[in-house]
């Protein structure tokens, strides 16, 4: 280092540069770290479809219909003049209960939660009833089930007109 440049950069200025440099470096690393965090949330996922056409209301008989259980995770339950789309996800910890026709109940194999045919829980650790999905008629008279809209019994949402179909 020449004598001239020594005069140009004194001790105080040197530390100013070092401080600016470290602040820039640290913020760059922090920015990259937050980008890496955002990287773990993909913009596109390949989850199953959230809505589907479930045929005509006349296709269903009184009781529990399991035809959409494997594809979409929905039981169609027709009872007392109402057709509802019941979620098949246990409200305890998210397993899939089985419909036991002989005992007229949904029974979860993971921890033993039990639900009546209408989805109300009555045994085991489940804290609340099964959820209903939005159910509506298309202009052609077909049933459309929309799983992005959820209706919860304990919130009094089962009276909502979109939560059942009068048949």
């Amino acid at each position: 280092m020449s004598d001239e440049s020594k005069k140009q950069l004194n001790r105080r200025e040197f530390f100013s540069f070092v401080t600016v440099g470290w602040v820039a470096f640290t913020s760059a690393v922090a920015g990259l770290a937050s980008l890496a965090f955002r990287y773990s949330y993909p913009n596109v996922t390949f989850d199953p479809e959230m809505d589907f056409i479930a045929g005509f209301p006349a296709d269903y008989e009184e009781g529990v219909d399991e035809r959409w259980k494997n594809g979409f995770g929905v039981w169609m339950v027709k009872q007392e003049g109402k057709l509802v789309a019941l979620s098949n996800i246990c409200t305890h910890l998210g397993c899939v209960p089985n419909w036991l026709p002989a005992e007229l109940k949904f029974k979860c194999p993971c921890h033993g939660s039990g639900y009546y045919m209408n989805g109300i829980n009555f045994e085991g650790p489940a804290p609340r009833p099964l959820e209903r999905y939005k159910i509506a008629l298309t202009p052609e008279g077909k049933i459309k089930v929309d799983k992005t809209k959820i209706y919860r019994y304990e919130k009094g949402q089962w009276d909502h007109p979109d939560s059942y179909l009068s048949v």
Binding site: S40, F46, L93, C95
Partner: protein, 260 residues
């Protein structure tokens, strides 16, 4: 002067001297040099109290845990040669590991080792607690050990999904729904309802910790890949670093504690 044996001639070769830069460990200085001059052993305390390494005092649980960790690393590496973490292949590869490969017990060794490591980690923690080895100056190392315990459990949890059978999928469904119930970070947890302004939901099933863990809203193929990478690369790397810190701090905090 004693007669020279074959061992003495070997010790005088340049090959030997280039590898071991100290004399035979017959005196205190060379015994210390054996430990301090070896990249693997230098994490180990140079001197130990005889009473401190009694089996009745340590139960050798820390050492057993480390041995099982090494065994799991080796068996896990061997399993990776045959296992593909995709929905199409994962389950069949697990079957093939038993049916199509010599030493079909490899996966079972890995699984039993995982169970054994959880047991020895707990017993090690129990021993350290009962001998008061968490007290100053060793309190930081207790903290490192607690993190290692949690990482051990996470290794077991992430490995549980990889067979991709019903048990695995529903176990992870249950486990990730616990993540859903995390306060403020999970969309089903307390606080998620507070972080809602009108119709705008800040913590939803698309941006909470469960989504990050599973790479989606369901236990599907992205979750399998994520758990595979966490299980085989990410967590073992962190565990390896923390094990080094753990051993180093045993040395720096005064070696193994000894009975009073």
């Amino acid at each position: 002067m004693a007669k020279k044996g074959v061992a003495d001639y070997i010790r005088e070769t340049q090959v030997w001297k280039s590898i071991f830069r100290h004399g035979p460990p017959t005196d205190a200085r060379n015994r210390a040099a054996v430990v301090a001059g070896n990249v693997f052993l230098h994490l180990h305390p140079i001197k130990l109290k005889r009473s401190g390494v009694q089996l009745g005092y340590t139960w050798c649980m820390g050492g057993l845990t480390f041995f099982i960790f090494l065994a799991l690393t080796v068996t896990g590496l061997l399993l990776m040669f045959y296992y593909r973490p995709t929905a199409e292949y994962a389950y069949n590869d697990i079957i093939a590991l038993k049916e199509h490969v010599p030493l079909g017990i490899m996966r079972e060794i890995h699984r039993w080792g995982a169970h054994a490591m959880v047991i020895t980690v707990w017993l090690h923690m129990f021993r350290v607690f009962m001998t008061g080895s968490y007290k100053p100056p060793r309190e930081f190392n207790w903290g490192v050990g607690v993190v290692l315990l949690i990482l051990t459990l996470l290794l077991s949890f992430t490995g549980y999904l990889l067979p991709w059978d019903q048990l695995a999928i529903w176990a992870i469904a249950v486990g990730s729904n616990m993540a859903k119930a995390t306060p403020f970070l999970g969309h089903g947890g307390p606080g998620a309802a507070l972080a809602q302004i009108g119709d705008f939901v800040m913590v939803s099933d698309k941006n909470d910790v469960r989504f990050q863990l599973l790479g989606g809203r369901f236990v599907g193929e992205p979750a399998l890949l994520r758990f595979y990478i966490l299980h085989c690369v990410f967590i073992p790397l962190v565990v390896g670093v923390l094990i080094a810190v753990h051993f180093w701090r045993v040395r720096k905090d005064g070696g193994i504690s000894a009975p009073l």
